[in-house]
């Protein structure tokens, strides 16, 4: 399969990439390309110009900045899971290790994954659970977008025209905070049919803060407030977790349906994987 004709240019800086994107409305940003190139090969996408940002040095770094870890948007999945700074964030490691395969993790990037916003991608659920924020830069300067305001819908984000993701800020874990990610994957593509990222903060034997996020379940990754609310001020037991997990994917929410899974089955899987992820975070699995 051959993509449509396309011009290619390599941007040397973020500023240059934004200028090229502003001047060429039909252009696409290319990082690892592991969503974009396959889509172009299938002719689902036919940009006039590819602006390659993968080798811009200011986009490929991982740094420990005291109260947060900052990950450059062009960092590959492999860069992230092999970096010392994120090793205690189990949800990051558990999700990253389940993305695609070795070869895909060597090329695919965090920034590319979230800007693409595939409704079954792993990172969005993790970034939601960890309370991350997304740094973006565009023709009107820089801004920061909270993860829970970034993923708006099916392949849709809060990025404006001409904006690109530059970095992801992840708050360091608080004392007593543990995280986990579990997914039921499509066996060939390894995309999440249901993926659940969680963060649980325990103090004096009670759960003081909880975030439970799903990917694959709806048209965008989302925080499930119902499960989180059912955990607050509860003791850390499997009974508590099971009761809270039963609230998953309820209420006024669109549930995806495809040839792998009906809506009812996805809803069931959401409860099962919320339970597994919470048990994992609490050391009860």
């Amino acid at each position: 399969m051959i993509p449509s004709s396309v011009d290619y240019t390599r941007a040397s800086s973020v500023t240059e990439a934004i200028r090229l994107l502003t001047d060429n409305p039909d252009a696409k940003i290319l990082a690892g390309g592991h969503s974009l190139i396959p889509a172009m090969k299938l002719r689902l996408n036919a940009p006039s110009l590819l602006i390659d940002i993968a080798r811009i040095p200011e986009l490929r770094f991982i740094s420990d900045e005291g109260d947060k870890v900052v990950i450059g948007a062009a960092s590959t999945h492999h860069d992230i899971i092999s970096n010392e700074a994120v090793q205690d964030m189990k949800a990051m490691i558990e999700a990253g290790e389940l993305i695609g395969d070795t070869q895909v993790r060597n090329m695919g990037t965090l920034g590319g994954s979230i800007a693409h916003a595939d409704p079954s991608a792993d990172w969005p659920a993790v970034l939601l659970a960890l309370g991350a924020s997304i740094q973006v830069q565009g023709p009107n300067g820089e801004r920061s977008i909270a993860a829970n305001e970034f993923f708006l819908g099916f392949f849709m984000t809060a990025l404006d025209e001409g904006e690109i993701v530059t970095a992801i800020h992840i708050p360091k874990l608080a004392e007593g905070q543990q995280t986990a990610y579990r997914k039921f994957m499509q066996p060939a593509s390894r995309f999440a049919i249901v993926g659940c990222g969680v963060s649980v903060t325990v103090e004096g034997g009670l759960i003081k803060d909880a975030k439970v996020a799903f990917t694959g379940v709806s048209d965008a990754a989302f925080l499930d407030e119902g499960v989180a609310a059912a955990l607050i001020e509860q003791p850390v037991t499997l009974e508590t977790i099971e009761a809270a997990a039963n609230a998953a994917a309820e209420g006024d929410i669109h549930i995806n349906e495809d040839h792998f899974s009906s809506q009812a089955y996805r809803k069931h899987l959401a409860k099962v994987y919320a339970k597994r992820a919470l048990a994992g975070a609490c050391g009860l699995d």
Partner: protein, 158 residues
């Protein structure tokens, strides 16, 4: 058209390429290195695996232009003269192939695994090969071939 310079198996090549040219087609059709195969053409099977700056990647899922400035190793670059690479020898000794179509990708992916984990367990080998599909062997002999290479390399380095 983008002009690219890549070092493939130790030799530098400079070419003008179409923006849309996939790296695997550049290797096969322009450089005539046909050991790298196109299998599924959808990033699933791993037959097109090469090393880009020392890391295994699927050359059917990236553009030749993305490789500009990089060092590439293909299956043709592993042997030293007539002396097979330990992985090549392992696949031969342990009957790690039947039709052989997936073998170059298997070996390149296994080489990436052994570069950072020289003595992997059977489970680690199986996980390391999750991006490579073989339709003949049932994988058992592929795993043995990689264990053979790991053992041989360990003996050599001792």
């Amino acid at each position: 058209m983008p002009k690219i310079t890549v070092t493939v198996n130790g030799t530098s090549h400079t070419s003008e390429v179409e923006g849309r040219l996939l790296l695997v087609h550049y290797l096969r059709d322009t450089l005539h290195l046909t050991g790298t195969h196109v299998g599924c053409d959808t990033s699933s099977c791993g037959a097109c695996t090469i090393h880009l700056d020392g890391k295994a990647v699927k050359s059917c899922s990236m553009l030749a232009a993305q490789a500009d400035g990089s060092t590439i190793t293909t299956i043709e670059g592993l042997a030293t003269g007539n002396e097979l690479h330990p992985l090549q020898e392992g696949f031969k000794e342990e009957h790690g192939l039947q039709c052989g179509f997936c073998t170059p990708g298997m070996i390149m992916c296994a080489a990436d695994l052994l570069s950072h984990n020289p003595n992997p367990s059977e489970q680690e080998i199986r996980e390391g090969l999750e991006g490579n599909i073989c339709r003949c062997t049932g994988y058992h002999n592929i795993v043995r071939a990689i264990q053979y290479a790991a053992n041989k390399s360990l003996v050599v380095s001792e």
